[in-house]
Amino acid sequence: MKLGIMVLEGPYQHQAADSAYYFVRAALARGHQIAGIFLFADGVQNANRFINPPGERNIGQRFEELAAQGIRVVACTACAKFRGLKPDIKSQHLQLSGLGVLADYLREADRFVTFGD
């Protein structure tokens, strides 16, 4: 099955980013495909390559790891502007793009799952 994912919360403040990561890993382990992960609203904070929590799980790195595996991880450009997330702050394999990507995921995915508050 092909799954589309949206994350609406940033790292650490809320469980949504953790849950999305574990969900995607579990889905891949079961042989499902991921249409893509769309980081929307505060979810774009997960795209910050400078996330560096001493002695803790690195949530930013987790999304980078998924993107480096070839999963399309896209952060909303407008939401990034609202939060001062400039392109040079973004993790290497993530992309910045608009809501057209969300529309693409919705079209491609058999199921769409949102992680938020």
Binding site: M6, A78, G98, L99, G100, L102, A103, F112, T114, D117
Partner: protein, 113 residues
Amino acid sequence: MLMRKAPYGSVYPAEGFRAMMGVAVFELPLCVIFLDDGVYTLVKGQDPSALEMKPLGAGFPTLPDVGIKEFYVHDQSLAERGLTAADLVMQARVVSGTEIEKILAGCAAVLPF
């Protein structure tokens, strides 16, 4: 598109509005359901100027222009808040929880905001 939250306490309703505009222009058919505190986003006469925010309600009546034609409001959520369809900025079908279940069952995807 499921609108569940009060208009100004979090960014969710504003982002939900942006998402529905953004998705609709790419010609994906969608309907909007307002329930719980989300019904407040449709109330007439919103003035969040003291918060230096823009009124959200004003945007919803423009959505038919981008092709969104179906709007539903949960009857119980309205009643619990002392509201009626006459208090809303636009015409939306007032529906029961059971009807909402049926509508959601017919959707390929549900985006909760």
